[in-house]
């Protein structure tokens, strides 16, 4: 065993910003520091104003939806930006004309099953891709990615025929079945698993854990934040599904997103009821956002979506 003595590393100079800050602290007067902070705040003001305007523009349609929903039906076309007069007439109409309660329950069930199934498939597939090297791995992965790039409209009719032949038309299972695998989810999780410490996997193997147990006892617990973020994203995406359910669920009393359509008509749209039904349909997503905000933001940041 040999020990090599080396000289300690030469002290590196601190970053320029730190030096400047230290100089400021020592040499500048408090007034000067305050003035500098003020000028920095002023410099960033236009960016903040722009962001505030963009935030308002983004939030305004949602505000308008609630304002219109809570107006009397006859006032639905009012252009007054201020809320009121408050009325529950539109909600009552929605309650009486479509089975909103069962629609919410069916949609919740569909979104939970779909998000859960997609997550499970994504965990298994990405684990396989990340852990093992096998012949055709790259080609298989490209096929997964390729399926993400194929527009839904291309596979819509073949999937419809398949669901029809399975006798699953007008069932929530028919909506869920062709979407059990999400290539996007597989891609996202594979990125996480690629950066998963190899040592942990090797250690688990040395401990005598099988690949299956390693996945559930080592990998999944360590990926909990990423899985939670992805699950939320998949749930939101499933909840907002419209075109495919509208094709499969011909009975418009099944899912909320299809049910809202019942207030759109050739003889004019019932905007008050549409806004009330849409407000109700948005509530689960809002609740998720309020209580799981950190994970939601994380999901969008990790996926590279803004």
């Amino acid at each position: 065993m040999a020990f090599i003595l080396t000289s300690p590393p030469a002290p590196t100079s601190p970053p320029a910003e730190l030096t400047r800050a230290a100089d400021d602290a020592v040499t500048s007067s408090p007034r000067r520091a305050a003035s500098r902070a003020r000028s920095r705040a002023l410099a960033s003001l236009p960016a903040h104003v722009l962001l505030a305007i963009l935030a308002l523009v983004s939030v305004y349609p949602i505000y308008w939806m609630f304002v219109t929903a809570f107006r009397p039906t006859a006032e639905a076309l009012s252009t007054n930006p201020l809320p009121g007069p408050v009325s529950l007439e539109n909600f009552l109409q929605v309650w009486q004309q479509i089975p909103i309660g069962s629609m919410l329950a069916s949609t919740l069930g569909m979104a939970l099953v779909l998000a859960g199934a997609q997550l499970l498939v994504a965990v298994l597939a990405s684990y396989g891709f990340a852990r093992w090297s096998f012949r055709g791995k790259k080609a298989l992965y490209l096929l997964f990615v390729g399926s993400w790039l194929v527009p839904f409209q291309v596979t819509m009719i073949p999937n419809y025929l398949l669901v029809s032949q399975l006798g699953l038309l007008n069932t929530v299972a028919g909506v869920v079945l062709p979407q059990l695998c999400s290539a996007f989810a597989v891609m996202m999780l594979r990125q996480h698993l690629e950066s998963f410490p190899r040592e942990l996997l090797d250690a688990a193997q040395m401990d005598g854990r099988s690949s299956w147990l390693t996945l559930w006892q080592v990998v999944v617990p360590n990926l909990r934040p990423a899985l939670a973020a992805l699950a939320i994203m998949l749930f939101i995406s499933a909840w907002n599904e419209y075109l495919w359910p509208s094709l499969i669920m011909q009975k418009s009393t099944a899912l909320i997103q299809v049910g809202i359509r019942a207030f759109l008509g050739a003889e004019g749209n019932n905007w008050g009821a549409i806004m009330a039904a849409s407000s109700i349909a948005c509530l689960p997503i809002f609740l998720i956002y309020i209580f799981l905000q950190r994970y939601v933001v994380d999901a969008f940041v990790r996926s590279g979506l803004k």
Binding site: A74, Q165, S246, L247, K251, S252, L264, G265, A266, A273
Partner: protein, 451 residues
């Protein structure tokens, strides 16, 4: 060898032609005897009925479901599974594609409410059954006759090549609705003569001068409004398709003249450039004073007028100068799609029910659609009181006497042809494109699609 083969083919073709002509002759000659059999009283039949009215919550689906339920009580051996069309399009916009998709999957509805723009496609491609062959012409005449017969101009709107493929069900005509209160404020009498486009323009100019913004909407000149654009063309001596249905004609001089006249309304500052939804909301909100649109919107306009405290009035579709105005219809007919004789018979029974006096009483009073059995609105008819309470339907009813059908384009690309026309009309009327070049280019592209 080749000669032998050619001779064999010729002989086979001749034999096939003879067989086909014999079949044709037989079916023509024995139409009455080849009708589908009546159902036995204990013969249970299940049929599917697809109606776009069921896609809309409220009075639309309630009324149709109510009629279906009454039908089932009157015909205990027939069970009707009523369903809306599938897909996410606007109500009434995807009736054919819905049936097409279900047909692919092998379970098309047995009876379907299809819009008239797809009549050619329904009869030639979709497998709609000629009802006149199924039940005989006499049965159709009997069903559409009675004490309150169908309006003669409405009766044959879904006929194709001499056969009845569909029974007209619900439709509307283009009506000029206007805010008489706004007109009065602009110094135009509430009962002003609005029978020609020149008079409409003069009145609209007065309102525009008062409000400072365009006061007229024409939903026929927007994409999706081609059903009544066809009426505007016909009113100016043009047509979209030749009589032999082989040539697109919306690039003709007369058609170019029509869109040029309408574009002048935009140039004069009276015609507003707005999408169809904004147009439908313009009159109720007081943004505009006039709209030429489907009479089916009357109910929502009446509600808005009552709420806003203004007077709603209606006039027939305006004419171009001294030429007579020719209204066309929107709407739909009921078609039998089933191949099974028992279901066909059950479907015919349902169609008769849905187009009966009783059905129109329900449909007109609850939904507000035009009763095609127009004499129901005459003294002694069950809708007389309703018609008296709703004087706004008078122009709509009177237009039935001058009605011409909404022409469906031939071939599989009828939707694309309609789209090409809609975009060309918008480009000229609202965006000032050269009328002749635009319409002729559209005509050429559309012609390529129907070859």
């Amino acid at each position: 060898m080749l000669i032998h083969r050619a001779l064999a083919l010729t002989a086979a073709a001749a034999a096939a032609a003879l067989t086909l002509s014999a079949c044709g002759g037989a079916s023509t000659g024995s139409a009455a005897s080849a009708v589908i059999p009546e159902l036995a009283p204990d013969q249970k039949v299940d049929i599917t009925f697809e109606s776009y009215n069921l896609a809309q919550a409220g009075v639309w689906s309630d009324t149709i479901n109510g009629l279906v339920s009454e039908f089932e009580k009157a015909h205990p051996n027939i069970t009707v599974h009523a369903q809306p069309p599938q897909g996410g399009g606007a109500v009434g916009s995807n009736t054919i594609s819905s049936v097409q998709t279900q047909l692919l999957a092998g379970h098309a509805p047995d009876v379907a409410q299809l819009t008239f723009d797809g009549l050619d496609f329904a009869a030639t491609q979709l497998g709609a059954q000629p009802i006149s062959d199924l039940v005989g012409k006499t049965a159709i005449d009997d069903a559409l006759g009675g004490a309150h017969p169908f309006n003669p101009n409405a009766k044959h709107l879904a006929d194709w090549n001499g056969k009845t493929y569909g029974i007209p069900y619900v439709f509307s005509t283009p009506v000029l609705f206007y805010n008489a209160t706004m007109l009065a404020q602009a110094g135009v009498p509430a009962d002003a003569d609005l029978s020609t486009w020149d008079k409409v323009e003069a009145a609209a100019k007065a309102v525009t001068a008062k409000t400072g913004k365009p006061s007229l909407d024409i939903s026929c000149t927007s994409i999706g409004g081609n059903w009544c654009m066809q009426g505007l063309f016909k009113s100016d001596g043009a047509q979209v398709l030749s009589d032999d249905r082989k040539t697109i004609e919306f690039g003709s001089d007369a058609a170019v003249d029509t869109v040029t006249k309408l574009s002048q309304l935009t140039k004069d500052g009276v015609l507003r450039n707005a999408d169809p939804n904004a147009q439908y909301e313009g009159l109720p909100k007081g943004d505009t004073a006039f709209i030429l649109t489907t009479s089916a919107l009357q109910g929502s306009f009446m509600q808005a007028a009552a709420k806003g405290g203004w007077q709603l009035k209606a006039a027939a579709m305006p004419a171009f100068g001294s030429k007579p105005a020719v209204p066309t219809n929107s709407g739909s007919a009921l078609f039998v799609l089933s191949q099974d004789p028992a279901k066909q018979r059950a479907g015919w029974e349902l169609i008769k029910w849905m187009t009966s006096d009783h059905a129109y009483e329900q449909i007109s009073t609850k939904i507000g659609y035009l009763p095609l059995r127009t004499s129901l609105t005459q003294p002694g008819g069950s809708l007389y009181d309703w018609a008296q309470k709703n004087p706004l339907i008078a122009p709509n009813l009177s237009q039935l006497d001058r009605l011409q059908p909404w022409v469906s384009y031939p071939g599989n690309s009828y939707v694309q042809v309609d789209d090409i026309l809609g975009k060309a009309v918008e480009a000229v009327v609202y965006y000032g494109k050269d009328p002749k070049a635009t319409m002729q280019d559209a005509q050429k592209r559309a012609q390529d699609l129907i070859k």
